[in-house]
Subunit: 309 residues, 2 copies
């Protein structure tokens, strides 16, 4: 049986950290929660929302005495924050993070910490297009997957404790090595985000189609892309800069395939298109069967009853 | 004041035609509804669902006496069906369609009809990832746009009658020329669909990432693409084959932009990425303000409470 944490420090107080706080309370965890965010506005909001028992002006003060420290800052900010907190970490602390990239986070964190620290990189595959401390909610992790990428040096008992923690927040937990994580996420998250950003950027920048037309006629497919293209710019800049190789590999495959389909369109090869579109339909069914998306039409979007469109 | 239709014939009884039927009844229209679908299974289902006052085995019988005929078949099937029904159309009939492409539909339909027929091409920008007569529902067109592409030869009174019809079903109505429609839709619908199909196809076909990984970890972005990549394969094959030029033009712009972003990733130009991602965020806000999408996080997807993932 795994021991509960006594004191959890949340470094960064955005969507993920605030959802962790809500989910910890929902699970009845008794741990003291401390927190820190770089901007005073975020700290004030987090305090108003009661996300932490105490919000500190410095990350070092927030981690003092914590037996679990969760880094929930953009990937590009990890190295600086770890350098700052490392001297203040408790000896037996479990240090984890929620970054979307694992190889680069390990490179950023590992040089700064002593052997006493159990550093177990993590990544909950959950989020929304909103960010900030007020965006979090307790059910964000329910039935979503959290991937841990422990190394051979980690104490298996520490890994079990972190696994139990995420499961108590509602998540399923899987482990894999960091490099494989980065390739899997390039496929299921990073390349799709870049593609969505690109499509939205293109549509916004055409000479012969007006912005009003793009907006009004977006329900024919385009609007689906705009949700993930509305995600936090800083977080996503850092993801791409820190998972370059895997993302560029998947984008290369994507472009190759796109060219093949463009060619099928150009030469009028309807059979190729039909077979391709039939196969992709089956992927959707598998995702719904795995409980990773709703089967309600249009994602169950409520009908908009505004009349001002 | 526009005169109500007395008899509406629905040719093709899938998602759009069945939604028209439901929305007509919701609006209290008294028109007799007749219908035809090519497959006996679809005709039987439509009859069971009571979508029509009478379902006919032939399109010719279904259109006899109708003052409004709506072609709701895939774009590639338009020419054949119009050649068949043309001799059976009432003299003063309004003939329209719901195809996603307008230039090719006009080319397919116009040669077969006499000058007495008021042919007014149309396209309701509404749908879901589901198809078939049981997929329709009355609110599908609410606050969505229906684009009509009348020609200078059309009687303005007939255009007004068709506009009033769509507005009674809940839609906003706009008019533009067919060529412009096809470019606008290539941007907001056809290119996004092809891109989504491509991304889903790529993810499904990687050697180093398993299908189970793609499915389980889809909530990190990928799953959004699978919804539109689950749309009807026949309809979409026909869209691409019949809107080649505009779709390939937009895809060309997309590839150009994707390469620019890939280059920014490769050379580590974070400022370029951040500025781009900030701009696309604003597009999402405009779409929500225009009532064309929900502002609820994750499209308001219900939390999946299955435990079998």
């Amino acid at each position: 049986m795994s021991r509960d944490f006594e004191h959890v420090a949340l470094i960064g107080l955005g969507l993920i950290a605030s959802s962790i706080s809500h989910a910890m309370r929902r699970a009845g965890m008794k741990a003291r929660i401390t927190g820190h965010a770089r901007s005073i506005e975020t700290r004030d909001k987090a305090a108003d929302l009661g996300l932490c028992d105490q919000v500190f002006d410095t990350a070092s003060a927030a981690v003092a005495g914590a037996d679990l420290v969760i880094l929930a800052v953009p990937v590009g900010a990890m190295a600086t924050i770890v350098a700052e907190i490392a001297p203040h970490l408790r000896k037996d602390v479990i240090l984890t993070d929620v970054g979307s990239v694992k190889g680069a986070v390990i490179d950023a964190v590992a040089p700064h910490i002593s052997n006493d620290v159990e550093f177990i990189p993590g990544h909950p595959l959950a989020g929304t297009e909103y960010s900030g401390p007020e965006a979090g909610f307790a059910s964000l992790f329910d039935n979503r997957w959290c991937i841990l990428t422990p190394s051979g040096d980690n104490d298996p008992h520490a890994v079990t404790r972190l696994r139990d923690f995420w499961q108590a927040l509602g998540a399923n937990v899987d482990t894999m090595d960091a490099e494989h994580h980065d390739l899997v996420l390039a496929t299921t998250s990073h390349a799709p985000h870049l593609i969505a950003y690109t499509m939205v950027g293109v549509a916004d920048d055409l000479k012969r189609v007006t912005e009003t037309e793009v907006i009004n006629y977006s329900a024919a497919g385009f609007r689906d892309f705009t949700r993930i293209a509305a995600s936090d710019p800083t977080m996503w800049r850092d993801v791409f800069l820190n998972n370059k190789d895997a993302t560029l590999e998947i984008l290369g495959r994507f472009t190759e395939e796109l060219f093949a389909l463009q060619r099928a369109i150009r030469i009028g090869d309807g059979d190729h298109l039909h077979a391709y579109f039939t196969r992709t339909r089956a992927v959707r069914r598998s995702i719904i069967e795995a409980g990773q998306d709703t089967d309600i039409a249009n994602f169950g979007r409520g009908v908009q009853d505004t009349d001002d469109a």
